[in-house]
Each structure stands twice: as C-alpha cells, then as structure tokens.
Symmetry: D2
Subunit: 279 residues, 4 copies
C-alpha cells in the first residue's frame, strides 16, 4: 500500500490533533504513526504523520489542512524522499568517505551531487564514487571572493542541503544567510564546550574525561546553531591530543551520519534555536 | 489546569486516532501529548494520551470511547497516580535501599506498603523508613507453604505491583499466575544471555566485555517475561567475578528504578511477550 | 597472603620501573598489579603498585625507595584503607542518601564522620544512619563567619576528604586553600560546559541533546579544578528543565559515587590541573 | 628517539616485573609504558612493554629475556607494525567499505592484501581501492572444495590475519584449525545471546531493549571464541527486524574496527577462551 507523509508546523491551538486526523480520514488516509509536540514557550505545534493510503488530490488535502489549521501554518505533503546534497570538506577523509559509501549503496537517503574542497586532498577519494569534486582554494583571496566561488559551484547543483563535513573555514553571515536552514555542520566537541578552533587541544588541556561531537544547523553565530545530534565517548589521562583527534573522528563520523539520516528523513523540525526530532 | 490521562489498547482499525481525538474534543479535552503504536504482527493498537482539561462525566467519556473503538478494547481513564507496591528481597541492599529513599522523598511514583524478606538481613534498613518488614523464611518448608505465607502477607496490602528486588528464590507458576501482570523482576544479566543462576560467574567464564541487567515482567518461564529496561556496562579482563558483581549492582539498581518509573507512570503496555513503552 | 600498596610520584627519570621493582623484590614483595604513567609535559612519573607480601620494616622500604628515586619524590606505603569523610549538603537528598546507605553497609571505602547542611532538610535522613548532622545556616552571616563555623565543625572530625554533595554555596579561596586536595565536588553539567549556576536551565535554553555531571577536586577557580569523573546521558526536545534536573540527579549520584570510590581506593593522582586515574 | 615494543607471555612467577625491567635497563631501554596482568586461574603472566631506545642486538635481548623468564615463555620484540590481512565477505558492504577507506588512508594498522567474496557483490567497491577481489562461489560445491579454494587464495598472500567481515558461511573445524589464532569474526549480537543465524530476528522476537555486536577470534565452536570487543545500542518497540539490521550495522562496523585496531597494534593476548587487552 502507498504511504503518505505529512509534516505540520503551526501556532498551537485546541484540538489540533482532532482537526488534522479528521482531514486525513476524509482523504482515506489511515494514520500508522503520529508524532507531535507542543513547544509551550514558543507556542508552536509540530507534527509528523505517517499514513497508509495515497490520496488522489494533493492540492485539496493541502488546502483543507491549511484551512483547518491556525494562520501561518506550514504544511508539507510527501517531501522529496531523496534529498540532493553538496558536501564541503578540507582535508579529513573520515566523514566524507562514510557518506560517499552510503551514497554509492543508496543508504544515505540523499544523493551527493558534488564535493567541494578548499584543498584537493580528497579529490581522488571522491572521484572513485563518480561524484564531481570541485577544488576551490581559499588562498590569496578575500573571504568574499572565496565564498562567491563556492556559491557559484553550489548553486549549479540546486541542493536541498549543504553538509560541512569537517570544512575548516569559518563562513560569513552573508554566506550562511544565503543557505538559511540548509547548512549542516559537524563540530568536534560536545557544544557548548570548546566552541571555536582546536577543541581537542582545549579538551586535553582541561583534562576532561570525555570528548564529543555535535551536528548542528549553521546560523550566524559560530557553533551556536540548533543542535541535531550529540554524543560523547570516554577518554583518560593516557590520551594525547593526537589520540583524542583519532578517537574523536569515530564519533564525528557517527554523529554527522545520524544527523543526516534524521534530517533527510524529515524527522527534524526547528523551533527557534532548538530542534524537535521525531525519531 | 487539570490533566487527564487516557490509556487505550484495542484491535487495530482504520481511523482510530481520528475517532479517539474526536471523542476527547467533544469532552473539551485538548491533547497535549499523544503516543500511539500499532503492533502489526499482533494487530493491536496502543495509545497513551495526555490531555489538558478535566471532564465532568468520566463514565460518559469511558462509554463513548468504548463505543467508538473495536470490540474488546481496554480503556483506562486517569489511572491511580501513586501505585501501592510490595518489595521482595533476599540479602542484597542496593535495589531496596534506593527504592526506600525514593519512597521516603516521594519520588518513586509509588508507595512501598511493605518489604518481605526470606532472610531478615534488610529488616533494619527497611524499618529506618517506617516501612513494615516481614521475615518469611523459606527454610524447612515446601515451596507451596513458603509461597502461601508470602501471598498471605502480600494480599493484606492489596498492592498494584510486586517488585522482586534481588529476590533469589524461583517462584512457582501458580504463584506467578496469581499476580499476573503485577510482578516485576530485576535479573542480573542482559537477557537472554545468562538465564538462570550465577550470571556473573557465567559472564566471567565466557570472557564477555560487557555485563548488564534486565528488568522484566515475570511470567511462568524463568527469565523469559516481557523486557521493560536493559542496560549494559563495559568490563575487562581485570574484573574478577566479585568485581562484576560489584559493578553490576550499580546497573541493576539503575535499571530496576528506570523500569519502576516507567511502569508506575503508566508508560508500559504489554503485547504478548513484548513491551511497548511510551517514554 | 598480605597485600601491600605503594604509591609513587616523582620527577621522571630513566629506569624508574626497574629501580622500584628491584627495591620491592629486595623486600620480598611480589608485584601483582602495577600501573604507571609519565606525564611528559609535566615531566612527572606516577605509579601505583599492588604487591603480595607484607614486609617487616616499612621504614626501610620507604627509605630505600626514596633513595632510589629522584629528589622530591612522594612515596606512600599502605595508605589508610578506610578514609574519614565529611559531607556538605544543602537540600537535595540523592547524593547524600546514596552515600549514607553505602556507609551503612561498609561499601563506601570510607566512613562518614558527619554531615553538615546549610539547611536542616536532610537532618532526619542523616540521623537514620546514626551519623551526626550539623546545621550551619548561611543566613544573616558574612561568608567568612559562615565558613569559619563550617571549618570548626569539619576540623573536630579530622577528615581525609570533604565531599560537596550538592552543596549550593560558593566557597571562598581561603576556605578552599585550607583543605587543599581534600575537597571533592559534584557539578551538574559536563564541564567546561555550563560553568556556574543553573546548568540545567542553560542546557535547556541551548537545546543540547545530552546532559552530564562532573566530579572534580575543588580549587580556587569555580568549577575549574581537576576532573575525576564525567558522564553524560541523552535528553531530547520533550525534556523540560524539571525533567533534566530529575534525570540529571541519577547521573550526579552515579558520577559522585564513582569518583569517591576511585579517590578512596587511592587510584587518583593529581598532575597540575589534571588527574591520572589507575582504574 | 626510537621505540621498542616487547610482548611477553609466560607462567607466573615471583619478581617477573623486576626481572624484565632489569634486562631492559641493561639494554638501555627505558620503559615508557608497561601493562601487565596475571591470570591467576591460568597461572599465566602477560606483559606489553613500550620502551624508548633502540638496542643494538635483538638476539641478545631475546636470549636474556628468555633466560630470565620461566620455561616455555613467549617473547616477541618489535612485532611487525603493519599486518597483512585478507578480508572475507558475502554481500554486506558496511564493514568492508570502512576497512578499505582506512586501508587507503593508512589508518588501519594493516594492509588489505585482498578481499574474497562468495558473491561478487562487493567486487566493484573493492577494486576502487586497487585491492584484488577474488570471487569464490560456494554454490554447487562441497564445503571442503569451497574451503580449499578459499585457502588457496588466502595462502598466496601469507596474511597475518583473516577478517570475516560479515562472511555468512560457517567454516569447518579443519579450516579454522589451519588458521588458528588468525581468524577474526564480527557477530551481529551481544554474545552469548543469539548465537548462530538471524540474531536480529531472534532479538526482535524476544523483545530485547538493546542489540549488540561482538568481535571475536574464531575457534571450532560456532560463535564461542575469545571475545575481543562488544558493544550494545538501545532499541525500542518501534524497531522492525529491518530497523535492527540497519542500526546494528553501525555498531558491527564500529566493533570490528575497534577489534582490528587492538589486534593489529598487538594489544590483545589470548588466555584460554578469554582475551587480555592492554588498551
């Protein structure tokens, strides 16, 4: 049987579940899994509804849901199942390699349109998977020129998301604004600890007993965007900075992959600087 | 505002969420959190619905829900918030002590009516918290006589649940049947590994790299009942059996507490030999 | 057979393991477990050596080890196995209750000499275990007077360690200096994230996906002392600040207990602002 | 400065650490990290000693260590740092892909000599990394013929280890005996739970709340060999068998990689059916 996925975000109000489920029933859609959440501080309602059934008039369903819901609601019916993504990298291979293999075997829930590197270190790896690699160096350029060149490459692919897979350049607010809501970053610490550069060195110097990684949407403020996934792993006094970097890569890879899966399966909603995740 | 909690289990059918939410709206109950699940193999629907609002006629609500739902449905409206429990112990203090302190500070979501021990080792600890302790020795008795004595004590307290907090006697099918669905046990392994006696010794001998604990409902088959909570922790070659027992106690305590919280907050449904848990 | 424990800290040098093991052999001590670590940045050597055998002249062993090791070395032979501790609390029961039960059943590796509270909330709980409770209010007093009163109580018990088990007052550098190396605190965040007050509120506002707890030695800088144990647990968007506080208590209790066990078993060495832990 | 690694296994005896460290000092080797363990039940001593310094006569060092240690001791000085491995696969790509990328970037501590598949599904993936792929089908052959064909391929590469990276055929005792101590397998459950085929289906049917993976040496008994690494991850009632398989792959990949790193860095000793691991 066909499946229908409905995503809803709107101002909270009485009886929303009843209103939504009534409209769905009228279109012969049977709810098989429904997740909803009310962010009381933000007065926002979020729902992700999986249904059995394929209606014949998506426009009608959309209109009826919008009519039933409060003003300014957002309704998405059957979002694209395979997202298009562009991956930005510098020199580290672990996150990119993992994504490329999943792309190759169709388990990423996304298609990697291209990889952009400010070094060409990962060109050969990328090309093994028949994915275009664009080398856009940042050297001897203003940040503006560099970012414009990157944008020019990104835009020709019209991606749904841009994934910063250990891209070690700080992006300008203007660049970020251009791709609002589409930028996903992996940061190599359990934010908000160790914001900014060299988190493993800082972790080593502080003598922490765990290190972590954080996948988040990118906003203007460095490492301050809505967090999607975080994990930590134990370390001890025998770990050098190098050992922390090595161990940390395993968790960076795992956390970024988890975040991508959640986002690409349309399980992540944003509410201000937080995420609501219907796993 | 008052809160209403509705628990539903029934045969699966089309449009159940719409039917349920419509009835709730008619009683001016606004759904603030709804969790539902369909066990497709068992063809069963489960829902836990939290609402804002206090209806005036619970009987009407119950009748309308029953009428809207398939035959043989179970509907519970506002289950008792503080369960009554009896705890059975042998000699180990860690699970009991943790429960008694929570009981004392009203954070157990349950009231400990009494403790029954087949040894009197934990009598003093129990009495510190003004909870009755009954010493029912198993020695020089048939199992039938022993269990009848325990039942006699249990029954005078009319508990909602009986918690086996490291009670080291195997209970007869007859005893278990008497308290069907009310018996919660903590087993000191990650079931189904190391069923039965001396799981830490078996774990030591097998050279596993993690040990665990499992909280489960008790059914006729030893250690085979529906699992509620499981956790594991790492061990290594330096752990003796004694070290495993010591470390294991921390996780037994944690797992049993977690399971009790879930059950006492009416977040656990049973479907055959499995649990559905709405955290 | 008797066991001997030797703790050594000194400047690093060539052949220290050989020197130490030779001295031990000369005293007919057989090494059963040896852990050592060189902090290269600090140029310090640390060792914890467990031996079978009971020598007849501890003074000789001590002198020979000191003679064999570089200048300014620290050697401790057979440290006290049951430490004396004083616990400082405010109103939260979970860490204290856990410690008291372990004290009562002799599994804390320490004896709780007394509990000091700036409120009397936990007096009854403490007294259940026949441990003295001293109520030293901070109200209507300067910090100096308050701390002097606490010191007066502490000092009459001559404790080896003072454990801040959710003691919610900031201590002055003078007070801390007085008990240098003896103060253990549990902080309710994964430091260095959320230093200072209300870490769970800050965690909620930041939208993190995990919360944590950190046990550390107290030094002059707030929440900046050497970390002993840290753990995190996952949270999600459904967690209110209250839910985080509730879940966090489980991990605070667990982390503080783990840290106490390590310290009281003489497994923790300090090297500057870090700890070396021989588990 | 040059580094020297010494591995020792022998019958336990008095003063072994002193004897060993004395010999090392005589060769101007300074111990920078020493890990040792006595398996009291097996009466065996194990040590892994890292030294600064490069002696000039390895034969002398070897002879002196053997002379100082009890009879039948095993001493290895500076084992090969890059092991040669052969990987056996069936159809699943996740473990192989991960290993190939690490091989390509020289972070596996081993070189993948070739991959052998009983299907050719992973041929293209393997060849991307310029690693030979041998398709040895099991169809229409006796197990003996099949295994002989595999052995013929393996033997031409003279590997140090053979890694079963989701190789879904059961190997005969004869085949296993041939590669005694060299076979590493990843099993998709937390052994000893769910030995044998279809562990995720069994896990689903049992309703467990966690799934796991186990890397172990292969011995004659199916899934009974010495365990190297185990990990678990939580699952819940919403997981289908397919979901468990999907989630499980992440942990299989992680556990197998961890085990390979430990073995290839000579951190794993075997004592009967257990492993001693000096991390």
């Amino acid at each position: 049987m066909n499946k229908t996925l409905v995503l809803i975000q709107c101002r909270d109000d009485l009886g929303l579940v009843a209103l939504i489920s009534k409209v769905l029933v009228n279109h012969r859609l049977n709810i098989t899994a429904m997740r909803e959440f009310v962010d009381e501080l933000a007065d926002q309602f979020f729902a992700r509804v999986e249904c059995d059934g394929a209606f014949f008039n998506e426009n009608d369903l959309y209109s009826e849901l919008r009519a039933a819901l409060p003003e300014y609601s957002e309704v998405i019916i059957n979002p694209k199942t395979e997202k298009r993504i562009v991956i930005l990298v510098t020199k580290e291979y672990h996150c990119l390699g993992d994504a490329l293999i999943r792309h190759y075997f169709n388990t990423l829930n996304a298609s990697v349109c291209c990889v952009i590197g400010n070094y060409d270190t990962l060109k050969e790896l990328t090309r093994k998977y028949e994915v275009p690699f664009h080398h856009v160096s940042h050297e001897n350029k203003t940040k503006l020129v560099f970012e414009n060149e990157i944008s020019a490459v990104i835009d020709q692919y019209e991606p749904d998301y841009i994934v910063l897979a250990k891209f070690m350049r700080i992006l300008s607010p203007e660049f970020v604004a251009q791709y609002e809501g589409k930028l996903i970053n992996i940061h190599h610490s359990f934010l908000p600890a160790f914001i900014g550069a060299s988190p493993y060195r800082k972790a080593f110097e502080r003598g922490v007993k765990l290190i972590g990684a954080t996948a988040h949407y990118v906003t203007n403020d460095l490492d301050e965007g809505p967090i999607i996934v975080q994990q930590t792993i134990p370390v001890n006094h025998t770990f050098s900075v190098f050992d922390m970097v090595t161990s940390g890569k395993e968790i960076e890879k795992s956390v970024l992959n988890k975040a991508m899966q959640l986002v690409f399966q349309d399980r992540v909603f944003r509410s201000g600087n937080k995420t609501i995740i219907f796993e």
